[in-house]
């Protein structure tokens, strides 16, 4: 199974090419590629929970934000100049001292741990409450959307602690090194690429394991699985939590590349966009999700530069196209399991409950 298939070979070559990108692309393009690769971690998380687990989350922005803000808090503190004891926006909003819960983030290890642990904890508790009570389908999607709305509203309203609408930006150093140095930008890019490759491999193994099969089984027949003696909840909770961790990492890396995290990046609309990347790329394919995240975001960048108002129409049209003509997204256009050539999705009807 692990012998190199043509697909694996092509994926490997693409990663090698991507690794050479710092020498091939202009700094601006490289920065974009780094950002979008970071976003592809979010997309892979959605493949696990939505594509394979059958649970649509419209609130991934929350976990993206938790990761993003955790690293941004550290960057803010690390970027303080000389005699300052707290970030500029806190001074402007009249805070007298740095809030106690900001303090530990001065330590980069704490911040990096929070990038992983904060989304994991929130996701585990939230999904435990939901899946224990068998809340799923459209109800789950709506509750997660409400969560994204509540989170972005909270961030905006607590300006003194979160930077409010503007979020956190103007970062200067990480680990004592200036973020603008080529060594740093290239390093950050390679770290991102390595994490994407690692997530792809780990995700493939997870989905090929018994866990992955059970996850698919609960998607296709939750009742059958339950009446075979399984409690489906733990599988969904673990999948949701893993997706949240990937999304948290994604948010942190994106923040490092983009130099900003703000409520506009974590609310309802970005959360829906995340789902669209995956719908277009292929929701049951990790590689498809990476492709979806990259293509949609590059298209967004190009189109909204030329015609700023036009982008949302293009996105909407692409989404409708994917849902009606290619439910398996881009990945569905490539043969699976070595079976023949193109599969026309509209010729295949779903059987069973």
């Amino acid at each position: 199974m692990t012998s190199a298939s043509p697909k694996t070979l092509i994926t490997g070559l693409l990663f090698l090419l991507a690794a050479a990108a710092p020498f091939l692309l202009a700094p601006y393009e490289l920065n974009l590629l780094g950002r979008f690769l970071a976003l592809s971690l979010t997309a892979m998380g959605l493949v696990i929970i939505w594509g394979e687990g059958g649970v649509l989350s419209l609130g991934q922005g929350v976990f993206f934000g938790l990761g993003g803000y955790a690293i941004a808090m550290h960057l803010k503190l690390a970027s303080l100049s000389g005699g300052d004891t707290m970030p500029d926006f806190m001074v402007w909003t009249g805070l007298k001292a740095l809030p106690g819960w900001w303090g530990p983030f001065a330590n980069p290890v704490v911040a990096i741990a929070a990038v992983v642990l904060a989304p994991a904890l929130v996701a585990a508790v939230f999904s435990w409450l939901m899946f224990r009570r068998r809340i799923g389908g459209v109800y789950f999607a709506l509750i997660t959307q409400a969560l994204a709305l509540a989170f972005s509203t909270l961030l905006i309203s607590q300006q003194a602690y979160t930077g409010g609408f503007n979020g956190l930006t103007d970062f200067k150093t990480l680990f004592g090194l200036r973020l603008s140095k080529p060594l740093m930008t290239h390093g950050l890019y390679w770290v991102t690429l390595a994490l994407v490759a690692l997530a792809l491999i780990a995700g493939r193994l997870l989905l090929a394991s018994r866990f992955g099969k059970l996850l698919r089984a609960t998607r296709d027949g939750a009742n059958r699985v339950r009446f075979l003696g399984y409690d489906p909840a733990p599988y969904k909770i673990v999948a949701f939590t893993l997706a949240a961790v990937l999304t948290g990492l994604s948010g942190a890396l994106f923040t490092l590349h983009a130099g900003v995290i703000s409520p506009a990046l974590v609310g309802v609309v970005p959360s829906i966009e995340m789902v669209i990347w995956v719908a277009l790329g292929g929701r049951t394919s990790l590689a498809g999700a990476i492709a979806g995240a990259l293509l949609v975001n590059f298209a967004k960048d190009k189109i909204s530069t030329i015609l700023p108002t036009f982008w949302l129409y293009v996105l909407g049209a692409l989404f409708i196209l994917a849902v009606t003509a290619a439910p398996k997204g881009l990945a569905g256009l490539f043969p699976e399991r070595g079976a023949g050539a193109f599969r026309l999705p509209w010729l295949k009807t779903k059987v069973g409950a």
Partner: protein, 247 residues
């Protein structure tokens, strides 16, 4: 006489005033094969639902090996030893035939689910089950791509692979032709002995092929029971099927 494996005691299930099961009493002996027949709406499937915890009782008790199981969570009831095949085959369409059975027979603890290859014990169990249902040559096929009859057999195999002592088979021949029906009867007869089996079906020829004890249900309770010949000779049974008032 030994205590029955399963006994339903005055089981009532009330759906907003409609008594789907009305003080139903039924016992199953260990190692027996029982066929339940009865007109549509007699409560046959609801009885299975009650046994596996899918519907909750309004009144009564379900004793399995002497313990009341009627309030246990569904997956716990399976762990005690009752598993059911649904009327519409509930095979896991996105997985291969092999994986369907491997999931049915494997470890239930999620922490033990991260292995890439099934363990040797599971493999043996799956092979045994495949032989039992005659799908050895279809092991790599996706369950969603099987024929209707094969799906029914696969689901019987899954239920068997759980290792449960009591198997509830709800309409295992639904949608099958005569030859498939005969093969299904052969499969089920091979299961009796180590296991206790309750079959629900409409097809009297199939019930005859199975042999075994026959229970007739009507209006949520047991109407009569006995051998198929007893039931056939009972004129009241014919009248409930035809909807005539009993004389």
């Amino acid at each position: 006489m030994a205590a029955p494996l399963l006994s339903l005691k005055a089981v009532t299930v009330d759906f907003d005033g409609f008594k789907a099961l009305n003080s139903l009493g039924l016992s199953l002996e260990s190692g027996s094969l029982t066929a339940v027949i009865g007109p549509n709406g007699a409560g046959k499937s609801t009885m299975c639902d009650a046994m596996i915890g899918r519907v909750r009782l309004t009144a009564g008790q379900i004793l399995f090996r002497g313990e009341d199981i009627s309030r246990l969570p569904e997956h716990t009831i399976v762990a005690r030893g009752i598993c059911r095949k649904f009327q519409t085959p509930g095979v896991l369409v996105g997985l291969s035939v092999f994986d369907n059975i491997a999931i049915a027979s494997g470890d239930r603890r999620w922490l033990r689910s991260f292995g890439l290859k099934p363990d040797a014990q599971t493999k043996i169990k799956v092979e045994e089950t495949l032989a039992l249902i005659g799908l050895q040559d279809r092991r790599e096929v996706l369950a969603g791509e099987l024929s209707h009859g094969e799906k029914q057999w696969l689901e019987i195999g899954m239920v068997v692979a759980t290792g449960c002592e009591l198997l509830l088979l709800d309409e295992p021949t639904a949608g099958m032709g005569a030859s498939e029906t005969r093969r299904t009867a052969d499969i089920i007869r091979n299961l009796v002995g180590d296991r206790t089996i309750l079959v629900i079906d409409h097809d009297i020829d199939f019930v005859e092929q199975l042999g075994g004890h026959v229970v007739v249900m009507h209006q949520g309770a047991v109407f009569t029971e006995g051998t198929l010949a007893d039931v056939r000779n009972n004129e009241d049974v014919a009248s409930i099927y035809l909807g005539r008032p009993r004389g």
